[in-house]
């Protein structure tokens, strides 16, 4: 399996889209977590000025993962499988030695590895931004504990991985990229977004929204320091709860990853490759 994963890492590493997404994700992540709110009115932001200091790094950055980061991860997942249909390379891979499920396994493993630098780069850029703001404000530079940072990075990875797995499934389902990205964004914005917004007033929706990627992602983020008030004012990714238990959220996200991967494997195994 190592050789197949290294093949997929080569495919992802040399692909411009991977680097473009990484660049945009990092820039926009820092822009919306630090630059814009700090430039507008930092005192009025839900967490006050402290939100922009290094101590709040984990929570401030994680608030952007469940929706904004999710869309980027979704695109990565879609590209990983959907593009193969467009180029016709899936049939080339399927006529090599490993079986179809093994090919999918290699792609998922490579994707999981590529998500690590996505999380780390944003945390590094966020750390720089928070340090600069602390210097500007003449505030003490207190970094979060290493344990909190490790948990936050792992949580960020898990949230992105769930969305990436959804992207892989949609890429296989639609055998392409455009429709898969369209459906994915539609799901994130309309299905999860609108239903979550209505869940406050329509109690019957609450159990349903509790299983959404958004609810579980934000539940983990808040457990690690993200502010609910900040999440509530998160534009198209806003979420006002209810939040679920963080262990339940972890289990749910892991189940999503396994479920999306299993469904994608089932489809790949059963369907003809034209």
């Amino acid at each position: 399996m190592t050789r197949e994963v290294s093949a997929e890492l080569l495919v992802l590493r040399k692909r411009a889209a991977t680097w473009i997404l990484l660049g945009i994700w990092t820039l926009l992540g820092v822009f919306f977590a630090y630059v814009v709110p700090y430039a507008l009115d930092p005192e009025d932001s839900p967490g006050g000025l402290e939100q922009f200091f290094p101590e709040s790094l984990a929570g401030t950055l994680l608030a952007g993962f469940p929706f904004f980061g999710g869309v980027f991860a979704l695109m990565l997942g879609v590209f990983a499988l959907g593009s193969e249909y467009g180029w016709g390379t899936l049939k080339t891979l399927f006529t090599q030695r490993p079986g179809r499920v093994r090919v999918l396994g290699a792609k998922l493993a490579a994707l999981a590895i590529v998500l690590v630098p996505f999380v780390l780069t944003l945390f590094a850029a966020g750390a720089v931004a928070s340090y600069v703001i602390a210097q500007i404000e003449d505030a003490p530079v207190n970094w979060p504990s290493a344990w909190l940072l490790v948990r936050a990075i792992a949580a960020g990875w898990l949230i992105l991985a769930a969305w990436a797995a959804l992207g892989v499934l949609l890429g296989v389902l639609t055998r392409g990229t455009s429709l898969a990205i369209g459906v994915g964004i539609l799901y994130a914005l309309v299905i999860e977004g609108l239903l979550s917004a209505f869940a406050d007033s329509v109690s019957v929706l609450e159990p349903l929204t509790n299983v959404f990627l958004r609810a579980n992602g934000y539940s983990i983020a808040t457990a690690l320091g993200a502010l609910p008030q900040e999440i509530e004012s998160n534009g198209p990714g806003s979420f006002s709860g209810p939040f679920v238990d963080s262990l339940q959220a972890l289990a749910m996200l892991a189940a999503f990853i396994a479920g999306f991967a299993a469904l994608a494997a089932l489809l790949l195994r059963r369907r003809d490759v034209a």
């Binding site: 093949a7 891979l93 399927f94």
Partner: protein, 305 residues
């Protein structure tokens, strides 16, 4: 006579149906023997590519049985011994030719040194570092063949390998395929180009509307040659020739006599007619071209459908 162990590909009543209306492959019985170059001929849409996809496990048959190298199609053990290029070769456009092959080598479990060897074999070493998107059609075809050769396969399946090539490229590819067929490797070559198949293959199967309508060597498909004679008076010439012991049949066609006889008898027939005072203005051997046979086989399909 070939035993079952000598069959590299064997299909029985292989059928592929898409929905209720499209019957792509219909009850196909195919046998490809070890070590031969087998030409799979058929017009566009006859079911060649669908058949090849089923042999590779890319497409599931609706019914029937397939055995490739003794196992089910698409099984990892079998795929490890098969090299294939189905339809247009497909590669990652942003990767170089070399990197594309490295990816495939890793998937195939082949040592990466093999990449340089196959690039050299298809004469792509000088462009190996360029993105495959910048390759000409001919170079893409060659890269496709290189990919198929990576595993040094026992069975090579090539679907229209000369598609998009200029005449020089086609001739080069034909020579290449001929050389691949030497040394015990089995090659299944799908094509609709008669010249390509005629020059390269040991045996040919002709598929029409998803069914095998003819199979044999090129010589067998083209049939026995006849001697064509233009002589006057024609009736007297026909009587004389017919009286010869080895002549099977003499028929008159468009002012000529078609004589079914071993073509080595031509000098004897010529001498016989001239000594009898018959003026012989033409005498030559005539055999159906593979193209004519193919058109005849496929046209009759159109007429009956």
């Amino acid at each position: 006579m070939n035993g079952p162990g000598d069959l590299v590909i064997e299909t029985r009543a292989l059928t592929k149906r898409y929905g209720d209306s499209i019957l792509a492959v219909d009850d196909l019985d195919l046998r490809v023997r070890r070590g031969e170059v087998y030409g799979f001929l058929g017009p566009n849409g006859a079911g060649k590519t669908t058949t090849l996809r089923m042999l590779l496990g890319l497409v599931r048959p609706t019914s029937g049985r397939v055995a490739v190298l003794g196992g089910p199609p698409g099984a990892p053990q079998g795929l490890a011994r098969i090299g294939a290029m189905v339809e247009a070769p497909a590669f990652y456009p942003y990767l170089s030719g070399r990197d594309n092959l490295v990816v495939l080598a890793r998937y195939a479990g082949v040592e990466e040194e093999r990449v340089e060897a196959v690039l050299d074999e298809v004469r792509l070493l000088d462009r190996a570092a360029d993105r495959s998107a910048t390759y000409s059609q001919g170079m893409k075809q060659r890269l496709g063949v290189a990919a198929a050769l990576l595993k040094d396969p026992e069975l090579l399946i090539l679907d229209e390998p000369t598609n998009g090539l200029d005449p020089a490229g086609m001739a080069e590819m034909r020579d290449f395929i001929r050389s691949l067929g030497k040394g015990g490797r089995t090659v299944m070559l799908s094509s609709h180009l008669m010249g390509e198949v005629e020059q390269v293959t040991d045996r040919v199967g002709v598929i029409r509307d998803g069914s095998l309508v003819a199979e044999g060597t090129v010589g067998e498909l083209r049939g026995r040659a006849v001697l064509r004679v233009r002589a006057e008076p024609r009736a007297q010439a026909a009587d004389l020739i017919r009286a010869l012991p080895d002549v099977d049949e003499v028929i008159s066609v468009d002012g000529l006599l078609d004589v079914t006889v071993d073509t080595s008898q031509a000098p004897a027939i010529n001498r016989l007619l001239v000594e009898a005072g018959i003026a012989v203005s033409e005498l030559y051997a005539q055999q159906d071209s593979l193209e004519n046979v193919f058109l005849e086989l496929t046209r009759s399909g159109e007429e009956t459908s």
